[in-house]
Amino acid sequence: MGDKFVGTPKKASVHVNQNEDLIFEKSSPGKKAYRLSELDVPAVDAAALLGDAVRTDLGVMPELSEIEIVRHFTRLSTWNYAIDLGMFPLGSCTMKYNGRVNELVARLEGLAEAHPYQPESLSQGVLEIMQVLSDSLLDITGMDSITLQPAAGAHGEFTGILLVRAYHESKGNPRKKILIPDSAHGTNPATAAVVGYQVQNLKSNAEGMVDLAELEKLVDEDTAALMLTNPSTIGVFESEIHKIADILHAKGALLYMDGANMNALVGKVRPGDFGVDVMHLNLHKTFSTPHGGGGPGSGPVACKKILEPFLPTPVLATKTDGTLTLDYNRPQSVGRVRAWYGNFGMFIRALAYILANGPDGLRQTTEDAVLNANYLRAKLEDVFDLPFKTASMHEVVFSDKLQAKNGVKTGDMGKRLLDYGFHAYTVSFPLIVAGAMMIEPTESESREELDLLVDALRQIAREAEENPELVKTAPHTTRLRRLDETTAARKPILRWKAPAASTPLTPDTAAKEW
């Protein structure tokens, strides 16, 4: 095949797969995809009721028929990569299978249509879901109390650090700083700043772990907490976690755990048992609620008893008659972090995941996740640099050191992976590893799929030796090639605009008028 298509123009496959316009470009006046029910009350004159406040123009809002809309979004969907298509080895994101029964139960009428202000007597089912999920998460984490209100992981961090602050304030001094390892997610320092704390950077030791001597030096009476990810962002369990907790507690500081990597621990180890005071969970990572192209998430925060009085309002409680209620009378609460009770739709899905697994399934899930990461490590460590040799948990972090000699960087190899039918691994994170390649397979991958990834990465390593240009210009087989992000940032185009009215109609658009 040559570069240019020379057959009949407007071949369907080209039209469908290459050129799906923006919805606005497909719109024509007078088309409709809806019909409202017949109005059963007298019609009103909007202009008379609203006066000056009435709207007269809806601008570029599209006008299409139903079939065109279905095709538009179906075509767009085919341009996405997804877990349903193959492995998504994106480290720290836990891209596991999203059970389909979760979607079905989340749409049951009595749940999907429950109104957040409906009377408690008619909300016992939704409250029970929150109760069973809360109890399950508390046993999984080994903590004492929980709030489901935070809307996402970063929002959970915010809530957790609010609890830390309220706790210290109750002791008379909110303290000044939060310690954050240099290997942490960017949300950690951003969160500390939003809650009004100074961020103090904690350097990792040669193994990429918390440097105990350094920690001992930095922790003082101004330290409110350490925000720690465990297993760390290099996928390694902080073996001296109890000493870390002891150093903090000796100075009255608290240990916050970022639960992003809980998929390595569920059913095997509980943060509450190794000294964590407060932590968040990511239901969209560990508990399989769908990522959906970047949200919604859900970030419950679990804590020890000492922090319980400060939880956001309302808190789920049981009345003397055994019914569930929402308790708003919480004088020491940090207040609300979100309207109502959190991303309830995600609670349903997470609980459905827990029910489908049970205790045995959850433990096996964790073991398989760790097994998969170690398998990839064993099969790839001879072709990629492994900066830290400590045993891996649920993810493995290589670096591009060997390939960079030929000018091939982690980002290039990630892009080349797209040509082999995979999503990229996490590129350039954590920051403590130059040229990081962070691979998290999750438990959802079969041995066969893992072997395909191993083959692809080994092949890419060879290409980096023999034909670096091929890797540096990847991807080659995707619908679009590398995109110009520089121009996108220098001259941002953030919305579609109708061509100026004076633009003469081209034959193509003129045809649409008919």
Partner: protein, 441 residues
């Protein structure tokens, strides 16, 4: 376990390849005293059918089969079937944040379409690609105004959703942003303009109002903008009932719009997940939090879309980021995009039906007591000052499988125990309205 794609022999072979004797070898870095030696205390493993039955049992304990007049920030609107058809596609449902744009054009183009429609509807120049919800969006907008103006205070109308105001209190106190609340005019239920004028100082970064406000009343946005701008403060308009934008003039005089788009096809779902959005004037772009999809070209000159201006975000700027926000609500934004595409210009007709139903309900149900704040235009909600307490009235309504209006005394003690907030949308039927009025008579 049915989600796990490995046979026992796969596991053994893999352990052998790794050089481990047992799975416990792989957990050797975890000190023995912290390893859990018992089963988790969670429900036992359920079959798929059992999972469904379990949740059906939960669902049946809720308000199934009740007519509802609740709104107050969570609105029941008809959700076209296409919404779930689209969001159930695995390519959307099980994809991630589009960090690899070459294989995420579906999500990116849909977000670009979302941003365009939000701009068009709100009258703003730019929009982000969604955020958690309307309450946190309003708080983020206030922090944004502080960054833009270099001033520090927020003046907030008491007619803003009470829970939004609570969330703002939580955020503002740790940013040391003083917050002043301004009362409403008891005749109109709108912000008291004279009190507003008096509350704004030289250090006021922004005025935050909601329109239609918590009482369903449409604020005089132009007049409020003039007062705010005269004193150098920005105007933030929060919109909780997005369907109003089909028939109510957009708040073009605002500097920032912080919206809850739940009304556009997102299930009421006991309060979440919803879809917050911030839209604003283009000159504030650099201070706007949240993700943005932008248009660009690939190496061959083909149009494509990328996440752009990510240097504002936490993964790059860390403690200096515009916000600690990480995710957006992509899948919910997609629901909104499909809803808006299905209705398109028909949002006007949808808005008119809401007006008509609420007008009829206000006359009929209102006839059993008094409708407050008659002096200003409303969208689809109204405040009823009933002849009985809201508690007594609602108990009687429940007997007839009707969930009445939201009692307001908890949020607005001055309105007393008889006041409640009623909502009627295109889903509310005349029969339901008549039945409620009959009970209240």
């Amino acid at each position: 376990m049915r989600y796990l794609p490995k046979s026992p022999s796969d596991r053994e072979a893999m352990l052998a390849d790794i050089g481990a004797k047992s799975i416990d070898d792989l957990f050797s870095t975890v000190p023995a005293e912290y390893r859990l030696s018992r089963d988790l205390n969670v429900p036992r493993q359920h079959g798929e059918q059992e999972v469904i039955e379990h949740f059906k049992a939960f669902a049946e304990k809720n308000a199934l089969g009740y007519a509802s007049f609740l709104g107050a920030g969570a609105y029941r609107h008809y959700r076209p079937v296409l919404i779930d058809t689209v969001v159930s596609r695995g390519e959307f449902l099980t994809s991630y944040t589009p960090y690899q744009p070459e294989i995420a054009q579906g999500t990116l183009q849909a977000l670009f379409e979302f941003q365009t429609m939000i701009c068009e509807l709100t009258g703003m120049e730019i929009s982000n690609a969604s955020m958690y919800d309307g309450s946190t969006g309003a708080a983020e907008a206030v922090m944004m105004a502080v960054r833009v103006t270099g001033r520090n205070g927020a003046v907030v109308a008491r007619t803003v959703h009470p829970e939004y105001r609570e969330v703002l209190t939580t955020y503002a106190q740790h940013q040391s942003i003083p917050k002043t609340e301004v009362d409403y005019d008891p005749a109109t239920g709108r912000v008291d303009l004279a009190k507003l004028d008096a509350a704004i100082t030289d250090d006021t970064a922004c005025v935050l109002i909601q329109s239609p406000n918590f009482f369903g009343t449409i604020e005089d946005v132009a007049a409020i903008a003039e007062i705010a701008h005269k004193k150098g403060a920005l105007l933030i308009v929060s919109i909780a009932e997005a369907v109003s934008l089909g028939i109510v003039k957009p708040p073009t005089e605002a500097d920032i719009v912080a919206m809850e788009a739940q009304s556009f096809g997102v299930p009421v779902g006991y309060g979440g997940p919803y879809c917050g959005v911030i839209a604003c004037k283009e000159k504030f772009l650099r201070q706007m939090p949240g993700r943005l999809a932008g248009e660009t070209k690939d190496m061959d000159g083909k149009r494509g879309f990328v996440l752009t201006l990510s240097t504002r975000e936490q993964h790059i700027r860390r403690e200096k980021a515009t916000s600690n926000i990480c995710t957006n609500q992509s899948l919910v934004a997609l629901m909104v995009t499909v809803f808006l595409t299905v209705y398109g210009k028909g949002l006007k007709e949808l808005g008119e039906q809401n007006l008509a139903k609420a007008h009829y309900a206000a006359q009929t149900i209102g006839g059993t007591g008094k409708v407050l704040f008659g002096g200003a235009p409303r969208f689809n909600e109204f405040v009823l000052q009933g002849s009985k307490t809201a508690e007594v009235a609602n108990a009687a309504l429940l007997q007839k499988k009707i969930v009445g209006g939201l009692p307001l005394e908890k949020f607005y003690p001055e309105l007393g125990p008889n006041a409640s907030l009623w909502c009627a949308t295109e889903l509310t039927t005349r029969a339901q309205i008549d039945a409620a009025a009959e009970v209240l008579k």
